[in-house]
Amino acid sequence: MTDPPYKGGTVARMSADTVPAAEGDSGTTWGPVTGWGRTAPTAARLIRPRTYQEAADAVRECGVRGGIARGLGRAYGDAAQNAGGAVLDMTGLDRVHAIDADGGTVLCDAGVSLHRLMEVLLPLGWFVPVTPGTRYVTVGGAIGADIHGKNHHVSGSFARHVLSFELLTADGRVRTVDRGTPLFDATAGGMGLTGVILTATVRLQPVETALMSVDTERAADLDDLMARLTATDHRYRYSVAWIDLLARGARTGRAVLTRGDHAPLDALPERSRARRDPLAFRTSRLPAAPDLVPDGLLSRTTVGLFNELWYRKAPRVSRGRLQRISTFFHPLDGVPHWNRVYGRGGFVQYQFVVGHDRADALRRIVRRISEHRCPSFLAVLKRFGEADPGWLSFPVPGWTLALDVPAGLPGLGAFLDGLDEEVAQAGGRVYLAKDSRLRPELLDAMYPRLTDFRALRAELDPRGVFVSDLARRLHL
């Protein structure tokens, strides 16, 4: 198979030597696989295709227990695991094929990470349209989970900016899938269950600099936080609030809002290093978290202390502070393997959304979490904007809260089941890319287009070639 034809106007075609393929051997190994939360390991055959042909062969030969594509393994739960079957590690297909530096689009392999795209695109004055809290996700994963970022209220989810992609389907064929088609909408947020995305054409965001201009403010409690977000979110392209879920009483839901936009060139101080090279993509990395962290490190005490410091450290109000992209969007990427700090037992991420008119449900849930004393230090609250058409796409207009909890917290399973009920009753839903424990009975109510999704899969993939632990667990 040759490179797919590029339909846009090619201005800068990356040659192979400017975009070296990552080192690593193709081949097959058998071993346990988990998501980023490091819970529920299952064993699978790991295949790392280096060409589209190898990917097609792997899909054809994946056997009775099927296969699923996997990118950088940042889904928290079991979305990119396939017990007893094949897991296609797509990070071997990582070429940036073409960049339209005038029109602002990029055509790249699905295994390219957003980190790589930033390295390549920022010097040309472009940025990815949507980035989640980590840039170590692949383009394929970004479409499969239809990820969102701090700009969802303005820019929607990732798939909104995808013009088309090529999908390797169960019959071994490669289909070009354009926006507005049922297959596009089933695949955007479809958790990899419609096929393997091989390449994608993505529309980019123009930027003048590689820095962010950030406003920070504190909110004293949940009502204050919600009022601030509601009143002024529209002024910012990016907006998110870190929320202290361990705070109790009058301080329940106290938070730090960080909102901002890409800094324009004239916002950089004259004769500074940043001014001389405004589009340089700078990151910093701390040493990786060690593999042997005791299970109880993140307790109510330590997290409570952290949250107190984090809240106090934030300025009451600060305007227009310049921050690196990596500091503003991806603070955790600075610590490789940060997921290890939860110890061997791993952790659970929980993210839900309820409509703007169901702020009552959000308040109840925040109070319940605070009363249950969940030691969560990565909790964030955000307002989503308009939904995108992906059938299983998570974001809908409303309030979304994401939190992390060590999986070993006693009674956590039953507690989260209780939150699920509350979310479902409020017409909300939980995020599949983060899920590792939802009760399957609730899914149909949360995702009304699930019936269409199942019907399309039954037609496109009658033998059920594409399957994951998530799909088995939730009967997707």
Binding site: A43, R65, D78, A83, A407, G413, R437, R473
Partner: protein
């Protein structure tokens, strides 16, 4: 599939009338388990067990299974695994026997050994192979503290559990890295039908407490679980006592 807390959605209980087996099933059904297979000799007691779990909202099916007939295990268990993934197999069958009586009737003693050890070897290996093929699942084996060091008072039962325990540990090591998790559960004296009328040993426990410990072990992916946990220390001390001293202990 198991969830992030190790709770299975489908469960196979080998020894479908075992009180510990049922207590565990009840607990797991209350959390997440939807499909329960009860394997045992067809009997009104097996049907009662099924009814009990059905009332809790589980989908329950029974399958004829006799630990003393290893030849039939392949077919019986094959049928279960052919119907879909099994996230957890609980090997719960076992008989206590009657030590004094069995010492005089070697054939009775052999039945204890064949049920607790030989039957478990066969069912354990068949289950392990099926779990390995599906790439995930837990095999939870009910051993006993009695197997940790054989006592004068019940060494026939104890030796059968010692064999089972060693078998399960080895199997767990063999399956390490295959996605299959083997957990050996060593309860102390459990108040149940099996021990009715017997004098209670110290640190006695209940089927419900064993079920709780199993749920915790699943979440932690433990390889060995003592019930109650203090038995780990007690048995570790007893294990190192010289024979002459151990013999004289009133246990």
């Amino acid at each position: 599939m198991k969830d992030a807390f190790g709770i299975p959605q489908s469960l196979l209980v080998l020894g479908g009338t075992s009180e510990i087996g049922l207590a565990t099933a009840r607990r797991l059904v209350a959390r997440r388990t939807r499909t329960v297979w009860l394997a045992g000799r067809p009997s009104p007691a097996l049907d009662r067990s099924a009814r009990q779990l059905l009332d809790l909202g589980a989908e329950v099916r029974t399958v004829a299974f006799d630990a003393l007939d290893p030849e039939s295990h392949e077919a019986a268990l094959g049928k279960v695994f052919a119907e879909g993934d099994i996230d957890m197999v609980l090997l719960a069958f076992g008989v206590l026997g009657d030590q004094a009586h069995d010492e005089r009737e070697p054939l009775n003693a052999v039945r204890v050994a064949q049920t607790n050890y030989t039957g478990a070897v066969s069912a354990g290996l068949i289950s392990a192979r099926a779990l390995q093929a599906q790439g995930h699942g837990s095999l939870v084996v009910l051993s006993s503290v009695a197997g940790e060091r054989a006592r004068r008072a019940n060494f026939i039962y104890g030796s059968s559990k010692a064999g089972l325990d060693a078998f399960a540990q080895g199997l767990g090591d063999a399956l390490h890295g295959t996605g299959v998790h083997v957990m050996v559960v060593r309860p102390g004296f459990v108040r149940s039908r099996m021990t009715e009328g017997m004098e209670e040993a110290p640190l006695a426990t209940t089927p419900e407490a064993v079920a709780t410990a199993i749920e915790l072990g699943l979440r932690r992916r433990s390889e060995t679980v003592w019930v109650p946990g203090a038995l780990r220390v007690v048995m570790s001390a007893l294990r190192h006592l010289p024979r002459g001293v151990f013999r004289r202990l009133p246990v």
